[in-house]
């Protein structure tokens, strides 16, 4: 290959090649051969505008002005010429000359002639290039690609040459193999490049290249998994970019018959091609998604598409496939699906809320068909749904606003007397609010809003689906507990544990209690009651029943029940007594490692701390039990129990009798005169008859905070009505005192420590046995004889030798 040619090809032009007289250039045989073989490549040489080059390079030193002028004229000439000749001349990047070491000035100019010019697709690009003199991004990318291709072409030449040379050798078979391998690699490369090329084209001008979509789809049918994955991902990128912001409706036959302008035809063609390609792509994705190899990639594509263009055609297909994968055993896939659905729920504006309904419906069906044996994540997504209570209430709200404004005005009038400064302020405020109203009104008019009625309808359906699912799960759990005694324990539980959906279901119920219809609450409470007490019923059976609910789950049931009641303002006449009984017993069944302490702390907070009116008997029972509890468990549990205990004592003055050892304490003790520590019903425990002796031991607790807490509690006064309530909640206490939070920094105070234990030295040697002098002497003698013997032996040996 010619040396000079290669140098000239470099795009930011370097200095010109050194001025070598033509005679001095030596051509190697190889070069000659190459040129002969590839005459096409060298064709440009014959067409070089030598005159121009000489003018450029060989000329004398010119002033800057001259230079400019010349450039301009040259540019003009080139613009005219360029169509005819494939030679390109890039403008000098730097107009200013460069001074060489020897003092001569060089102008950076470059004539660009390369094989690029011969590529057929280049013409358009070159035009742009010459017009703008700079490369825009996409072109640069394209060019990089092309140069890569070239490099490959060159690379290809070598093996071919080798093969030609050695064709007759016996290693032909091996070579053929090598060739095959190489070609496979090449094919992979070309396909990759092709994909990239098509993709960039599509992105740069979708309308013109819409047909390339089909080509890309063709590539995705490749056998190579890598290629397929790549093609899927690049198609994803393309579609994400070119899908319009509206749904495409294909023209009806009637419309097709009508005569339309060229523009419309073009658009119609574009849209139909896009839609067909999209459809084919989706089909492909949905088929591939079922194959394990492509599962992740395909799911990623589907999720991204659903997230990005939820308004577009065929979204239902996307949605159903996402929901199908929502409980996938593959962690990555599951995460993707869940987050997609969550974003669907939280960005309802993108699809007008329709997809929410569909998604919830699909999930509900999914849960039903899998008999509630799914991964908890699949239900957790419901937590992201937002239920807007104000739909359709806007008008009434506005009215309210006005009313209040009137009120304000009235107040204003009353206050007018108070001085003019005030008035000025008020008027300013009024003006501001007026402007704000106007802006709001304008905004409302502009934004697209679906019909309130429609939305309300959708929301109702969503709600009913969600609750349907929740109730199904509850019922399923109940059922499984009920049958557990007879059914074999090894029945299909899947990989998700025994009641995988119960926990998120309870969480969801707790969150959406306000939306719950009052009619259902009765049933719900019944369910919860049964679930909460489930294990105590079947506990008697000796068979170990792992299907039972765990302590955490039962605590959660109690919690939900309380939350439901609380959010409905205790409007219902439901007896919560059973739940208290459950909690009273559950406290004893708690195990630190196994059960979640956070749930326990939360239930202490909700059920005991927040409850205003408590039966004295019950409160006392809980106080006693919590104190006992605090004696047996770690700091975090103890602290949350003590905090609850303190709050209970502050609320119930009479319970403070527990703090005093009254000789005649029976006065308040009620019907049961003796405390029953193992009672299961708080009302029957007779706790009022006892004294909180636990505090005495707790003040000796190794944790300073617990010990001070116990001390403060024991010093609470019976007579005084302390209304002050501590701000710390049991949950907070639990979190603060858990070991994970512990800083483990010993307070490094400088403390004086006295060394009291200076024992006398005589004492020290006591435990050391006396040294037997005779033995020592014997050993010494022995040693000496041994060593002496050795020595003599050596000496004798030395002499012998």
């Amino acid at each position: 290959m010619g040396k000079s040619r290669r140098k000239q090809k470099v795009i930011p032009p370097p200095e010109l090649p050194p001025d070598v007289p033509e005679e001095d250039i030596e051509f190697s045989d190889e070069d000659l051969k190459f040129v002969k073989e590839n005459t096409d490549y060298a064709r440009f040489v014959s067409r070089i505008d030598t005159g121009a080059i000489n003018r450029q390079c060989g000329g004398k030193v010119k002033t800057v002005e001259d230079k400019y002028e010349e450039e301009r004229s040259k540019k003009k000439a080139h613009l005219e010429e360029k169509v005819k000749s494939s030679e390109i001349q890039v403008d000098p990047v730097d107009v200013l000359p460069v001074k060489n070491l020897d003092g001569t000035l060089h102008y950076r100019t470059v004539t660009k002639k390369s094989k690029l010019a011969e590529a057929d697709t280049d013409d358009a690009e070159m035009d742009v290039l010459q017009d703008e003199n700079t490369l825009n991004k996409s072109q640069r990318r394209a060019k990089a690609k092309k140069s890569k291709k070239e490099a490959k072409k060159q690379g290809k030449e070598f093996p071919e040459e080798i093969i030609q040379e050695e064709e007759e050798t016996p290693q032909a078979a091996v070579l053929a193999e090598v060739k095959e391998e190489l070609s496979a690699e090449e094919r992979f490369e070309t396909k990759k490049n092709k994909l990239a090329e098509l993709g960039t084209e599509l992105l740069s001008d979708p309308e013109a290249h819409i047909k390339s979509l089909k080509e890309m789809l063709e590539i995705s049918k490749d056998e190579n998994t890598k290629i397929v994955k790549l093609s899927l991902l690049s198609l994803l990128a393309v579609f994400k970019d070119i899908i319009p912001g509206y749904r495409i409706r294909l023209p009806t036959e009637k419309e097709l018959e009508m005569k339309v302008s060229k523009e419309v035809k073009k658009t119609r063609f574009y849209e139909s091609t896009l839609l067909n390609a999209y459809k084919a792509y989706l089909n492909k994705l949905i088929i591939l998604e079922r194959q394990t190899v492509y599962n992740q990639v395909a799911t990623r594509c589907i999720c991204t598409l659903l997230d990005a263009v939820p308004h577009f055609n065929y979204r239902d297909n996307l949605l159903s496939s996402v929901v199908r994968n929502i409980s996938s055993p593959d962690e990555v896939v599951r995460r993707l699906c869940c987050s997609t659905i969550r974003s669907l729920f939280s960005n309802e504006g993108k699809h007008g809320g329709e997809l929410t309904v569909d998604a919830v419906r699909l999930i509900a069906e999914h849960v039903k068909s899998y008999n509630c044996q799914l991964h908890p994540n699949s239900i957790e997504v419901f937590m992201s749904i937002r239920f807007d209570e104000d739909i359709g209430k806007r008008d009434s709200e506005d009215k309210n606003l006005k009313k209040s404004k009137k009120n304000n005005k009235r107040i204003n009038q009353e206050e007018q007397n108070q001085g003019q400064e005030n008035e000025r302020k008020k008027s300013k405020l009024e003006m501001m609010s007026k402007i704000r109203d106007e802006v709001n009104a304008d905004y409302k008019r502009e934004t697209y809003e679906p019909d309130a009625k429609e939305r309300r309808k959708m929301q109702t359906e969503t709600l009913s689906r969600v609750f349907e699912t929740y109730f199904r799960i509850l019922r399923n759990t109940m059922h499984s507990i009920g049958e557990s005694t007879e059914a074999d324990t090894t029945s299909n539980h899947g990989a998700f544990g025994y009641h995988p959906l119960l926990a998120p279901c309870l969480d969801g119920l707790a969150k959406f209690t306000q939306q719950l219809d009052l009619d259902y609450i009765g049933d719900l409470m019944n369910y919860l009651k049964k679930l909460a007490s489930s294990s105590s019923v079947s506990n008697n059976s000796k068979q170990k029943n792992s299907k039972l609910l765990t302590v955490s789950e039962r605590l959660r049931c109690c919690l939900v029940a309380f939350k439901v009641m609380r959010s409905n303002l205790n409007a219902l006449n439901v007896d919560l007594q059973d739940f208290f009984v459950q909690l009273y017993n559950l406290i004893l069944e708690y195990r630190p490692g196994r059960d979640s302490g956070e749930v326990l702390a939360e239930s202490l907070k909700i059920m005991l701390c927040d409850d205003r009116h408590q039966d004295m008997q019950k409160a006392a029972a809980f106080v006693k039990r919590l104190a006992t509890f605090a004696l047996c468990f770690g700091c975090a549990e103890s602290m949350s129990a003590l905090v609850t205990l303190k709050i209970l004592l502050q609320r119930n003055i009479k319970c403070r009798n527990l703090l005093e050892n009254d000789a005649g304490g029976g006065s308040v003790s009620g019907s049961i005169s003796k405390y029953q520590p193992y009672a299961t019903d708080p009302n029957l425990s007779g706790a009022l008859a006892t004294v909180l002796w636990e505090l005495s031991l707790l003040t000796k607790h190794y944790h300073p905070s617990i010990s001070t807490m116990a001390a403060t509690i024991s010093n609470m006064n019976t007579s005084q009505n302390q209304t002050f309530l501590s701000a710390v909640s049991p949950q907070q206490a639990f979190a603060d005192f858990s070991l994970e939070r512990e800083s483990f920094e010993p307070k490094n105070e400088t403390r004086k420590l006295n060394n009291k234990r200076k024992r006398e030295s005589s004492e020290e040697a006591k435990n050391v046995p006396e040294i037997d002098m005779v033995e020592v002497k014997k050993k010494l003698i022995e040693k000496f004889t041994i060593v002496r013997g050795i020595k003599e032996d050596e000496k004798a040996r030395m002499e012998c030798s």
Partner: protein, 639 residues
Amino acid sequence: MGKLGKKARKFGKKNLQSVEKRNRKQKPFLKRKFAKRDGQREGKNVEEKKKIEPPHKKRCIEENPWDIFIDAVFSKDKNEALDYGDSDSDGYLAEDSDLTIAVVKGTEGKISDNKMSMQSKESLSELKKQRRKLAKLNEKLVDEGGSDIMKRKVLSGSVLSSCCDLVDEEQSVQALTSLLNWYRAACHYGQEPSGITKPDIYYDIEDSETFANVMIFVLQKADQTCRNMLGISGTSNKEKILKLKNNPKWDSVQPLIKSFLRSTMHLVQHGADLEIIVFALSQLRVSIVFFAAFPDLLKKLIKISIHLWVTGEETLSQQTFLILKEISMVFNSECFDTCLINMYKAYLHECDIPKEYSEQHVLFLRYSLVELCSRDMQKSYTKASVSITQLAKLLKMALTTKNKEAVEKIHSGQYTNCVDLWVNFIAANVQDCDLQPLLYTLVQVISGVAKLFIGPRYLLLRIKCIQWLNQLSRTSGIFIPVASLVLDMLEYNTTNEGEKQRMKLEAVSTVKLPKNWLKSQNFQERCIFSVIELLAGHFAQWSFHISFPELATIPVMRLKKFIERSTMEGLKRVVKRFIDQVELNIEFVQRMRDDAAFSPNDQQSAETFLQLEKRSTNAPYTQYYQSIVEKALGTKKKK
């Protein structure tokens, strides 16, 4: 390393910080080399685990758990503490004519010392072989040198006795000098090429009786004689010795003392027989005060002693510990830290090496370390605090990140033994000093460890944790709730009735139990017995406390449930008996409590409640607890 090297080092430490830094970096390699040889000495290929890199003061959470070293916390302080100089002379004392000047024979000293250090690193089993080789070499050299130049001084029994008399009666310096020279020869007997290095005089000993006598006499009397010469009587401290330098007699006696100390140390280092070393050490202990004048020798002594303390047998270990204790008491200001730190490190290093029957030895090491710590609370308090913080850091990392390496490091022998050490330290001293902050952190660390390792496979670790907590609680009188930790072990019963096997109770030194162990009947028994034992210990402490009934409520309930559930009759009976005892005690306390006239907030009255009964040992629960303890000891012995 020569004298120049030492000076240069000193200079560098003062003026060239970067050199110092580099030195510190290189130290691990040196150390490692040394430790490896040690390992060979043990005849085992011990995995090298010593980390020397000094920890930085502030560490962030993300750091690598391998960076938190339990054993190297103090390395920054005194790493070079034991680089003792070998440059001092160790030659014979000049006699007669130039008695007053102790001729420094540098070359000789160097050679002999080099050999010494060489030998010290060889394995004990090979020592004799080496010695033989050396002797061979000596013979050759002697032959070459020619015997006519040599002036042989042979010590015979009669000479010895007359010398001894002179020393005894007249405190003759000359006689002592020659005795010491012979003593030196005796100490180096068979090891030193005495022929070539000092050709003019060659000390020899006639027979074994004399050999033994000179050794014993010098060891027993040298110290006292020197004292008499210097005019010190009774106890003397370090300052007194240092003051002696101004004493005119000092110049004459100093070389004698030095020779005596050196020779004895050589004997300790190379003496083959345990009894001889022990005897030499016991005599050396008396003269420790004299080391004040020879700091280099002192460092060397510390090093030797620590090595013997860690590796030696029972009596030897005890003797060396006495030496170390003496040193740290006499030279409190300079050497206490050095001793403590090096002993601490050696202890942890020893814990890492799994050895058969090492339990007793580790126990002794721990006790002696605790005893040493108790000597200077102020200093050991800071050490303990640093070490415990390090433990806590590692634990916190393991708890928050569940980092596998950190977790592994925690259930290593090093970690548990370190915790054990500080538990014992606190238990020993909590009565006298205010160790509340240390105690609190340590309790948190232990509960963290118990929380980190859940599950039956870590049964032994959990038992250990609870034992620590019980010990701390018992000694400090504070309340540490262990009930929930103990009761968790009840749930470890995973076996059904069918699979009952007997597994051999062996190889339980590993922290993690093998899986097949879990199904064995022994495991079940071990679980239940441990529960009873630990709970009984916990209850015994509070059995006369006014809150006892409440304390026992939940555990008793849990145990009752276990009885309902369990199918093993033998275990059920044991548990039943325990419950009965506890309930009896509950009733007793409740009865007494009903008569009490004070309220829970009256701490003082609560303290005195039932104290009288507590002292008498014939309360039923106390007796029951005693029987349990004895039984536990019995089963342990059986093993």
